[in-house]
Amino acid sequence: MEKNKYKNLVAKHTPKENILCNGLVAFVVGGLMGVLGQGLIDIYSYFFNISTSDAAMLMIVTLVFLGCFLTCLGFFDKLVHFTRCGLILPITGFAHAMMSAALEYRKEGFITGIGANMFKLAGSVIIFGVVSAYVFGLLRLIIIGG
């Protein structure tokens, strides 16, 4: 009985999040990020006269820089609070994870601080990405043969 009472009390006081509104905001912001990416690709390939894949690489570098810079200025956390997944899922979220780890551990020194902790949050992306790409690559070699 007591347990149930406590559970009800907790459920009453946890802030309710509006799932529909969050989803809509994430959809619009994420979509705008996609449009920004496509626009950057078009601009780069038009002005620098390079192939689409090179322009895509430049676009990724630009977005990574934007994510790092906004994190440094302290905007990014506030933006994520409003836009939710719309900024975490694009490559800016990866940059944000690395940048905030580097900023946070800066005071512990270069080697033991930045060097040891930079991949603290973003490391899981690289590790699971590489492991899954390796396994799926082997699978594809076996099934399709390259």
């Binding site: 570098v61 990574v64 997944c85 940059a95 992306v125």
Partner: protein, 116 residues
């Protein structure tokens, strides 16, 4: 038209992530990791290449393209050098993104102090 496609695809990926995030106890760190694995999986049968043709930059922006680029570089090298290409070509295409993230965050962390 490709702008509309990229809006729809990138928005849908973020929407799915947001729905999972709201309805479970997973953190944003889980989300990015899951979507990298999904991106790598979609490239097994070349599905993600078709998505990139359809959505253009919208498919390159989400973190799923990171997993796609990992396996894509590995498979491209495998054609030339055999099975060892899986290891030597893994970072061929993603190197620019990872290097940019490391370099920018190192130098910017020297300049800026953490807020709050």
């Amino acid at each position: 038209m490709i702008y509309l496609n990229s809006f729809i695809f990138c928005g849908l990926v973020c929407l799915i992530a947001q729905l999972i995030l709201d309805n479970t106890k997973l953190t944003p760190g889980h989300m990015t990791t899951i979507f990298v694995v999904i991106g790598a999986f979609l490239d097994v049968f070349g599905i993600y290449d078709k998505i990139i043709l359809w959505a253009g930059g919208g498919a390159m922006v989400p973190i799923t393209s990171f997993g796609h680029l990992l396996i894509h570089g590995a498979m491209a090298t495998t054609v030339d050098v055999g099975i060892m290409g899986l290891m030597s070509g893994m970072f061929n295409l993603t190197a620019s993104g990872i290097t940019a993230a490391i370099v920018f965050s190192f130098f910017l962390s020297l300049i800026f102090k953490p807020k709050d």
